[in-house]
């Protein structure tokens, strides 16, 4: 998946590969181990939902949706080209499997809360998963959403925070510190688990476990740019794009 996402970014010379790579293991776990969906019926009302709140990570999202079978592989070649359905940020009117439009940070989580409330009202069995960046948590809308979800005991809702400790320009803790994130979510009425966000077994165990009686917050400790030596933990790879030599080197490392 990392290879596919990086091919897209390399071809387009645009994208956000650092955040693609930190999120991609959680997404692989969701799409290929946890979520219940049917690509032939993208609007099936009882499907599990995934919302990519950090909408810049389209390399990861489109790779997952394509791998799941929502659209043919050759569409990936059109990433960000004129009239492409694969816009720089996801658009539900362009692509099946995209639940809502994101891109401005702090939008996906409130929408996910609404989806979870709709499920609760109907007594539906579907689950809602939303993934935010950690820098994204600086947006106040997340905390309003967290309060509503905690208050309403939205057990069918799982928030994954991609805790790579970097935002666009610098580290989260030097910019506007988030720690202790776990205690904050616990205080807002959530079950909180902290795991290694690149450990598939841990991801599967945590994300796959049946809902309890509170919303679940999974703080996934990750590495921005994970998998490519020269990209790991480098803020410059937030929206850095590879030249041909870097691309070739990365392809050697990503096997």
């Amino acid at each position: 998946m990392r290879r596919t996402a990086f091919e897209m970014v390399h071809r387009a010379q645009l994208g956000h590969p650092g955040g693609d790579f930190s999120a991609i293991d959680a997404m692989a776990t969701l799409y290929f181990g946890v979520m219940n969906y049917d690509v032939r019926r993208p609007n099936w009302e009882d499907r599990d939902r995934f919302i990519m709140s950090k909408g810049h990570a389209t390399g990861a999202l489109y790779t997952a949706l394509c791998g799941a079978g929502y659209f043919p592989e050759d569409w990936l070649q059109t990433y960000m080209q004129p009239h492409s359905k694969l816009n720089g940020h996801p658009n539900r009117n362009y692509l099946p499997g995209v639940e809502t439009n994101t891109g401005p940070l702090g939008h996906g989580f409130p929408v996910a809360v609404g989806i979870a409330i709709a499920g609760q009202l109907r007594g539906a069995s579907y689950r809602t998963f939303v993934l935010t960046g950690d820098g994204e948590q600086q947006e106040g809308s997340n905390w309003e959403a967290a309060m509503v979800a905690g208050h309403r005991k939205l057990a069918n809702l799982t928030l994954i925070i991609d805790r790579n400790r970097l935002q666009q320009g610098a580290g989260t803790e030097e910019t506007s510190g988030l720690d202790p994130l776990d205690q904050k979510y616990a205080a807002f009425g959530w079950d909180v688990e902290m795991i290694d966000g690149h450990d598939h077994a841990a991801l599967l165990a945590t994300l796959g476990r049946a809902p309890g009686n509170k919303p679940r917050c999974v703080i996934a400790n990750t590495v921005k740019g994970k998998g490519v030596s020269f990209m790991e933990n480098q803020a410059s790879w937030h929206h850095g794009v590879p030249n041909d030599a870097q691309f070739a080197q990365a392809m050697k490392e990503l096997v």
């Binding site: 387009a12 010379q13 645009l14 956000h16 909408g55 810049h56 960000m80 080209q81 004129p82 009239h83 492409s84 359905k85 694969l86 816009n87 720089g88 940020h89 658009n91 362009y94 439009n101 994101t102 891109g103 401005p104 940070l105 702090g106 820098g135 994204e136 600086q138 947006e139 106040g140 935002q167 666009q168 320009g169 610098a170 989260t172 910019t175 506007s176 929206h239 850095g240 794009v241």
Partner: protein
């Protein structure tokens, strides 16, 4: 964010003029501070941050707080330049801009970076084409979209010296310097870039140089188009608009939505005071995926597109 932009020899990314001017002003005026939302790099404020580390306030990814903090800093006697991608400083923090800045009438300078469609392929969420329509009705708020590097520097200087709220709509898209003799920046006054009486092309920001190209092309066909650089959208230069209406046909050009922005303002003014044909060049709404070049061409923000709009306006004038 990396993106492709039209560039040519000698064209300028006006953000360089913005930071150079701000740093020079800040050397002299200790009240000046910058407020950002994880946007140090995209606002080109890295060297400002090095020079004045404690005068760069990065609130993180939190635009509503960022604008509110700007108001508070003004209350505390500072002169804040609040700088972020224009889509977020306007759209995300719109109520803060309205209530905390314009209505409360604080001495805050809002600086919208990478305005218009500079973020191209990143799509409608990152395009800032609605900002003119959102901000134009806000009383007290001066709205300026400079057309080139010189005007960017002048507008930043003017804003620093002015006591009151200002929105500067800046761009990262390279533009050439306009050729105007004896230039003086006058807030609220349109600048005549080309003389002509057959019709008037009123342009703003990154599109003024395209309007000049269109006027040159029209001149070869014997059509004398006046070109106005309408950098200030609020307050509007009503005298210049009266004179534009005298020419009997108007084209507006902006890197913004054709609804509610410059085109909207001109249509509003002429409909109320002196109805004349108005053709609006700009963007119609949410746009398909594509680069800046693609979107400019596709929606007629080009010398050819503007000249064609001029001919439509002239045909309506003669009808």
């Amino acid at each position: 964010m990396a993106h492709a932009a039209p560039a040519a020899q000698g064209w300028n990314d006006c953000r360089n003029a913005w930071v150079a001017t701000l740093e020079a002003l800040a050397e002299k005026d200790p009240r000046i501070v910058a407020v950002v939302n994880d946007s140090v790099g995209s606002s080109k404020l890295n060297s400002f941050q090095k020079k004045f580390p404690d005068r760069l306030i990065n609130v993180g990814i939190a635009e509503q707080v960022m604008v509110g903090v700007g108001a508070g800093l003004a209350n505390g006697g500072r002169v804040p330049f609040v700088s972020a991608a224009s889509c977020f400083i306007t759209g995300r923090a719109l109520e803060q801009v309205k209530a905390d800045i314009a209505y409360a009438n604080f001495n805050v300078k809002l600086v919208g970076q990478s305005s218009g469609i500079a973020y191209g392929e990143l799509g409608a969420t990152h395009h800032s084409i609605e900002d003119f329509a959102w901000l134009r009705p806000l009383a007290n708020l001066v709205v300026i979209a400079p057309a080139d590097a010189w005007e960017t520097a002048e507008a930043v200087k003017w804003a620093a010296g002015y006591e009151g709220p200002v929105y500067l709509r800046l761009s990262r898209m390279p533009v050439p310097d306009l050729q105007v003799a004896d230039r003086v920046f006058r807030m609220g006054r349109a600048e005549v870039v080309c003389q002509g009486d057959d019709l008037t092309i009123i342009a703003s920001g990154t599109t003024v140089h395209l309007a000049v190209q269109a006027a040159e092309a029209l001149a070869l066909e014997g059509i004398a188009a006046r070109v106005l650089n309408m950098a200030t959208l609020n307050p509007l230069d009503e005298e210049a608009l009266h004179q534009a209406a005298e020419t009997g046909a108007i084209v507006t050009v902006e890197e913004a939505s054709i609804r509610g922005g410059l085109g909207g303002a001109v249509a509003e003014f002429t409909a109320a005071n002196r109805p004349v044909p108005v053709e609006r060049v700009g963007f119609p709404g949410f746009m398909p995926t594509g680069s800046v070049e693609f979107l400019f061409k596709e929606f007629g923000l080009s010398s050819e597109g503007i000249a064609a709009a001029a001919k439509r306006a002239l045909a309506r004038k003669r009808a």
